[in-house]
Symmetry: C2
Subunit: 209 residues, 2 copies
């Protein structure tokens, strides 16, 4: 039953991809190793040829989910008007993030919004992976987020917290109207707010942290 190195590597990738999807969709605790392997038509035993523990997979799944959304957002941004990261683009990004589609599809959505609740109850390794993910996502907000978030790190953190909060709360409510109100309120709040006096923000590349 041995598989070639290529096949094994592909299996490993499939496990991480499936885990990253299922964890965001149903939570870290509610998805078992058997669920993930089963989704791939494999049995549990083989899992431990690839990972030391479930927690090790959680860490890689968080990394994979983060790469996935970072790439997606960047491709989107380049794809439709390479010249300048315009306000229009900003709004597309915000609209996508604060959409019913995002609320209804955590499995392909932001890992910060999908996992923040669970990660609070997990071990150090998981929290560290989540922290790295947050830092990557904050870079995205700095480069592609609403104008207000380009001003300062504080503005980025504020925008990020409100966006994640809106999506997480929208997912936790049974009231569709309240969910949509939350999304709309945060969207318009972010588009309206303008930081203090003037101090025009540089549009160019922003130093990585």
């Amino acid at each position: 039953m041995r598989r070639s190195r290529e096949e094994a590597a592909e299996t490993r990738r499939h496990i991480v991809e499936t885990a990253s999807r299922l964890f965001r969709q149903r939570g870290l605790t509610s998805v078992s190793v058997a669920d993930i392997m089963g989704e791939l038509g494999l049995t549990v035993g083989g899992f431990y040829r690839h990972f030391e523990s479930k927690e090790a997979l959680v860490v890689e799944a968080i990394e994979a989910a983060t790469e996935e959304v970072v790439n997606y957002v960047q491709v989107q941004a380049k794809g439709d008007g390479a010249a300048q990261p315009s306000t229009l683009l900003d709004n597309d990004y915000l609209d996508n993030y604060l959409s019913s589609f995002h609320v209804d599809h955590p499995e392909i959505g932001c890992p910060a919004a999908g996992l923040c609740g669970d990660v609070g109850h997990e071990g150090l390794a998981t929290k560290e992976a989540f922290t790295k993910s947050m830092q990557r996502l904050l870079e995205l907000v700095a480069r592609l987020g609403p104008d207000v978030a380009r001003e300062s790190r504080d503005q980025q953190l504020y925008a990020f917290a409100s966006m994640v909060g809106a999506v997480v709360l929208a997912r936790a409510t049974s009231d569709k109207t309240l969910a949509n109100d939350l999304l709309r309120a945060v969207r318009s709040g972010l588009l309206r707010d303008t930081p203090r006096p003037a101090k025009k923000a540089p549009r160019g590349a922003r130093a990585r942290r």
Copy 2:
């Protein structure tokens, strides 16, 4: 081994109180019925004399946690300067919510922040209880939140999402500095933001939804 009606009622209250604390601290899935009963020195079997299922307890625990923090915040507000709900008070409320203490003590903290991640993966009854909780907490924000949140429902939702987001993310990170940055950024964002032109908000009672 039968207990008096009073004793039984007290046991029931103890179960709800303990559950409300443990659920916020360790999550809905990670706390078992046996954990809760064990904390009270009782055995699991007796649980079902008081509740139809674990989910029924989850619903009551959410309600109890909400009442608890609503009462606490209102008493605080009345307690130290009854005359007017002043800006100073607002800042106390914000400071408490966006504090390291709140991040480190979910068991006595905001149920929206403590449970929103879990509730997304739960059944309808739980989501409905959580929705009611959110509505109660939004009233608090409207009455005691930062000035900005008194202007409109959108402002309340925006403030609420950013506050919950900050606390949930702060709890999920292993980086104390990032956690504190999030709290500070949202706090100063909420205190800075002033809604559009002027349109002074009424300070008096606000209609319940």
